[in-house]
Symmetry: C2
Subunit: 356 residues, 2 copies
């Protein structure tokens, strides 16, 4: 049963049982070196159920879904709390703090936590201070932000004597996603409704450009002047359809989002993330593309793009041993040892005594 | 002048003024945050000359080339010694030790030092112990081994929930290289002379497969059973020519080297590195290719391949601040924070007090 951990296993409380939380739970259950000892979710339909039932696994796991974090954290004293409840710092900050105060490390898939220092400097300072007081480490990660358009870019620059400009593009397919993601990207609506949605803030698109650009500049030792960001509708020429949305020709198939980070008054980093349903219907190939204009220049392609949901769950889980072993504080992917898949049984090699 | 460092600059002694040492020297001179305070080379033609003259720069740098490491290390007390004298651990080990005993961190481009634990476990243990005694850090790095076929592979696996098998291929062009590299790859000779050279050990090919495969397995938490390695001649169908070699049709254009790392009795990592002069003459496209069969699978291409010489110099220089700040001991690219280009003036942010 998940709930009962051996002394060698890293114990996890999972906070949030939405799409990402469920993916995380299933992945953790495959791994011998980690164990879920608690599950938190405020939506009433899961409350009091066994986690296995809540996830639709048809078996009990010995972990009851609760909406009482104080009791769960106190009773289970987990090594790590995995938080997958929101994209935004102001939403996850109280949860992170509560976990830290119970002596738990935190990994969150909240996009803004990948590099919270730019948008949320005061909150970041507080998280860093509380983490150090409690000798725990806090990390935000995911496939993007957290990997494709930032960590991977940073790592590639390591073989460059000079970097003049960086362009990175992630072209993906929104077809597998549910109604809330499709709505936040404006899929299926008219171009004018899209423009209105961008103005009103209901069409958010991708959350993470500020975080990715800031993290790259910070790691490369550059002072970022400013970031410019735009969201344009991808107008469909074809009829496109998913179980959740129909797109007529002339309406919006997705959102093309572009952000530009300026250094010394000039564009230094351009990130593009056109997201749409059925890109193949207009012969758009999906992929991740990084182009570094430097000495040497580097042109990287990953085709198709690294698959979203499973990759975010994987990197969050793979970072667990690194976070457990890391120096206390608010960490980023750019401050920690190089990330890697955890394939063996690593529990024996994880020290629970933090350095410094 | 190079020889006089401000208190904020990281000071470097460069050991070895061959092709790589010269590339390193020129790169360091471009950077404001590091300064060469000593240069060591045993070849007599450079001895007693100013480093600028030895490098053919037509100006003096205020650093005299010496063959007396003891005096140079004692008088200059560098933060880091950069060693580019040999590919092999038994050759660089005494130099590394001498540098450590003078309190210097070490970065070397010696291929076997990228992950010396497999071929040289006792020497590795000794280096690690001496490094900790003197509170310094030792790192081997380069474009390959050190980056393309190991560090980059490791980083990519971070978004994988499972990795079933890894294949990585680096196809490059030997045309820019000089006679010693061409000879070690068997370029220009007959197929039978090639076979004989492989038997005699004069055709070494690429040094680094054992190191790359071992480092990947170590970081992923897998126990490596064994490595199989082969070297095959690339027989030319065309006439190929460089300033240093002529290849007739039927003779050897280069060396195709393959290594396979086995885990649980099955091939887990295959690395291929076909190196030849003028691959374009038979429509072979150069590039770096990484294919991970996993969940998700990842197919990465970098075309053309990351340029060799400058990339090795760049990563060695870019790792300097990380090594200066790292915990003492024998480090690897897989144990240190993610690498990155150093673009700003980072000297102020480098702490010379080592953690733990």
């Amino acid at each position: 049963l998940e709930g009962i951990a051996s002394p060698e296993e890293i114990t996890i409380v999972l906070w949030g049982l939405g799409a990402m939380g469920s993916e995380l739970a299933k992945l953790i259950m495959e791994k011998k070196w980690i164990r879920i000892v608690g599950a938190l979710e405020k939506r009433p339909e899961h409350l009091g159920k066994d986690l296995g039932e809540a996830l639709g696994l048809g078996k009990n796991l010995g972990v009851v879904v609760s909406n009482d974090p104080e009791t769960v954290l106190r009773d289970t004293r987990p090594d790590v709390v995995l938080i997958a409840t929101s994209s935004f710092v102001d939403r996850v900050y109280p949860q992170i703090t509560q976990a830290m105060e119970h002596g738990a490390n935190v990994i969150t898939t909240a996009e803004e936590m990948v590099y919270p220092w730019t948008k949320w400097p005061d909150v970041s300072t507080k998280i860093d201070r509380i983490a150090k007081e409690h000798k725990v480490t806090v990390l935000g990660t995911g496939v993007n932000p957290g990997f494709v358009l930032d960590t991977l870019v940073i790592v590639l620059t390591a073989v460059c004597a000079e970097v003049y400009e960086i362009t990175a593009v992630r072209i993906n397919d929104l077809s597998p996603y549910g109604p809330s993601v499709l709505r936040s990207q404006g899929v299926g609506i008219s171009p004018s409704a899209f423009e209105e949605g961008v103005r009103q803030g209901t069409i958010v698109g991708h959350v993470g450009f500020t975080e990715s650009i800031s993290m790259i500049c910070a790691r490369l030792g550059l002072k970022l002047d400013r970031i410019e960001e735009s969201r344009e509708p991808i107008i469909s020429k074809t009829h496109r359809e998913t179980p959740y949305v129909k797109v007529s020709p002339g309406n919006v198939a997705g959102c093309k989002q572009i952000a530009r980070g300026y250094v010394n008054g000039k564009p230094f980093i351009t990130l593009e993330h056109p997201q749409q349903v059925h890109p193949e219907s207009e012969n758009v190939k999906t992929g991740d593309f990084i182009s570094i204009n430097g000495r040497p220049s580097i042109n990287l392609s990953i085709e198709p793009e690294i698959a979203g949901g499973i990759a975010t769950a994987a990197i969050a889980v793979n970072m667990i041993p690194t976070v457990v072993n890391a120096s206390p504080g608010l960490a980023t992917m750019a401050s920690l040892p190089i990330p890697a898949a955890v394939l063996g049984d690593i529990s024996r090699t994880v020290s629970r005594t933090k350095p410094l």
